[in-house]
Structure formats: structure tokens, C-alpha cells
Symmetry: C2
Subunit: 193 residues, 2 copies
DNA sequence: GCTTAATGTTTATGCCGTAAACATAGCAGC
DNA sequence: GCTGCTATGTTTACGGCATAAACATTAAGC
């Protein structure tokens, strides 16, 4: 059979960079679709490839989700870093990174859920070498002026507050009210030190 | 056709109380199975009924999950109330209910997730007439000695901490360490008032 | 240029949720 | 006591899913 270009753009048999395309499509889909509604077939369709082509680049669905989660935690870290930089010198720079955490979650609900919910056997814990984790550690250590044990406690407490607030808002248990975020992550009432 | 008892127990065409049996089977399944692996067909199989019999009692899967969630929030409230009663007069009765929240979550991971994660259009927010919500409100109000605005803030902060801690532990981001729960929910360092 | 490995496709299996049509049986009124 | 209605199950069917296996195409190295 002669490979005549009958259509405007002849579809190449090989995609070129399917893996990247799939991750991009996944991230885009998560902007409007909850993670549990994400399907490999839909992604493949979106990218213009057969339903099982995915398996040439990911052993299974979990692996693809893991790649998306890795992108997510990276983006979260960068968003927090920007907020921290903007609040540099501010009396509550620590709080600023916490508020950024919650705001990023609200802006990227599905991806946020994926990052922290799908990590059963996928990615390492946030206490890896990712930006968000390093920010948390740095800020906490600074807040307690070097007290190691105190920093450890503060870190977990702070993480719990912002994570819990984000989750409750995402799950509709609390209104997604920006002012409420400020009222909860309030340095005057939150921690006693 | 004669209805002869050929088998030890003749299976009645009608189950008797299928709805209750399904909920019970669902709760039992959630003890060992994550909520996303729960299937109507498996539940029907468990109860000994055809795959579609479920639809005589629930319009769809979400409705069944909603019924399970309702059971869950009820159980959580009772567990917290027991803990609160045990800590009555204790200087940190408020903290006791918070620690109970986290411990119940760790003991019932799938059900806890269902209660707070599946409520998109299922159940009302926890701020309904359930026990857990009332406990939170009472304890917070007492902690601030009647200050309404302060109680509101404290309530959300406290809920966020315990919910975040529970989630992070369930998702493997923090070790499920009982001592860590005590260190996080620590009245001396958690809130400044 | 031929071989080979990488990358896609086709086909198939066995789950799933759920809709529609049909079967059974308890019960209400005569 | 018979009749018919309604609640409750069953059967059958559909389309979608993840994934496995066999096959096709193409790019890259010798």
C-alpha cells in the first residue's frame, strides 16, 4: 500500500514523545476531572493513540499517576517558594508558605489529592528531596531559632494544620473562603512558643 | 415445581433485609479493602444475591457509599464521646477528643476516607446534627470560655490539625506512631490563648 | 542494507456500573 | 380463598475500564 497523504496531516505511526504527551494530557485532564475519573483510554484517545500504547511507557496506571504526582509536588513547591520569597523579611514568612499550600490545593484539587493520596507505593514521602519539604524544614527551624526537637514538632503541627484545612475545604466540609485561610493560619493564635 | 429442600438451607427468593445486609457487608469489606476497590457486584456476591439486586435499595453506588459514610460518622462520634467521657475533668479533655479522632481514623482508614472524601453530593457536611460535630463545638466553646468568635476560630483550627494529622498518617506521609499523635496534639504548644 | 530493539496496534479477557425486561412472592381487598 | 398489586429479586445486555498477548511498523546500529 502506498502511503499517500490523503489527509492534511498524515498521522505518523510513532508518536515521537508519547510519554511526555501523556503526562501533559494527564495534567490537563486533572484540571477539570477528579483523579478517580481519569482513564488511560481517555488519555490515549486525547493524545491520538491506541488504548494500549500507554503500556510502552508505563507498566500500569499507577505508574502514570505517579508521574503526574511527581509533577504536582514539584509545582506545589515552586508555588510555595514564590510565596515565601514574596514574604521575605515579613514577620510571618512561615505562615505565608502555609497559606500558599492551601491556596495551591484549592487551585489544583485533583492534582493535590493525587500527590498526597496516591502515594501508597508510588512516590516517596514528601520528606524526600522535594522543594516543598525543604521549605517546611527550613522555615520551621528558623521559627524555633535552631531548636531541633522543637522544629520537628512544629513542622508536623504546621503541616497537619495546612493539610487538614486544605482537605476539609476540598471535601466541602469547610467553605473555600480565602479569609478563612488567613484566620486559621494565624501566627498570633496558632502556636504557642 | 415443588419447593423441596434439596440443600441444607433453601435460599429464599426474597432476602428479607437486603438493605441492612448490604450495609453490613460494606462496612465489613471496608475493614480490609480500600473504598475505591469496593464493588457492588462483590457486595452482592457476599450477601448471596444477584449483581443488580442492589438497585432495589439504592439508586446507585454513591447512595450505598453514602449509607456507609453515615454509619462511619456515627461511629466516629461515639468513639470520640467515649474518649471525652474518660477524660472528663482532665485538664485536656478537648485534646482527648482530638486524639480520639486521629486514632479512630487510623483504626478505620477506609471508612474514615469515605466519611470525609465521598461527600460530594452524598451526606451533609460534618456540621450537621451528628455527634462528632456537636462535640467539637461544645469543647471549643468551653476552651475559650464562651467567646463565640474565638470558639469559631479554634474549632476550625483544631479540626484542621487532627484531620490533617490523620490524613498524612493514613497516606503514609507520616508514621502511624501513637506517640507522635500526643506530641502533635499537645495543649502546651498547639494553640496560644 | 539487514537486524534488532523500541514503539504502536489489534484482539481478547474479565472485571465493573447500570438499564430494561422478566419472575416471584407477600399482602390487600373482595 | 381467589385476584391482582407492589415490593423485591433475577436475567440479560451494554458500554467502559485495565490489562495481557500477539502482531506491525519504524528508527538506529552494525
Amino acid at each position: 500500500m502506498v502511503t499517500v497523504s490523503t489527509s492534511p496531516q498524515t498521522r505518523a505511526y510513532h508518536h515521537g514523545d508519547l510519554r511526555t504527551a501523556l503526562v501533559a494530557a494527564g495534567l490537563k485532564a486533572l484540571e477539570t476531572t477528579p483523579v478517580e475519573d481519569l482513564s488511560l483510554r481517555a488519555l490515549a484517545r486525547e493524545v491520538g493513540v491506541s488504548p494500549t500504547a500507554v503500556y510502552r511507557h508505563f507498566p500500569d496506571k499507577q505508574a502514570l499517576l505517579g508521574a503526574l504526582a511527581a509533577e504536582g509536588i514539584e509545582q506545589l513547591g515552586q508555588y510555595q517558594q514564590a510565596a515565601a520569597a514574596a514574604a521575605e523579611g515579613n514577620s510571618d514568612a512561615f505562615g505565608a508558605t502555609g497559606r500558599a499550600y492551601v491556596r495551591w490545593a484549592l487551585a489544583n484539587p485533583a492534582l493535590f489529592r493525587l500527590v498526597f493520596g496516591q502515594c501508597r507505593d508510588v512516590g516517596p514521602s514528601i520528606f524526600g528531596d522535594n522543594l516543598a519539604a525543604r521549605l517546611l524544614q527550613d522555615k520551621a527551624l528558623r521559627a524555633v531559632r535552631g531548636d531541633e526537637a522543637g522544629a520537628q514538632q512544629l513542622m508536623v503541627q504546621a503541616w497537619a494544620v495546612v493539610h487538614g484545612l486544605a482537605m476539609l475545604m476540598l471535601d466541602g466540609q469547610l467553605p473555600q473562603d480565602d479569609a478563612l485561610i488567613d484566620r486559621v493560619i494565624d501566627p498570633r493564635t496558632l502556636f504557642a512558643r
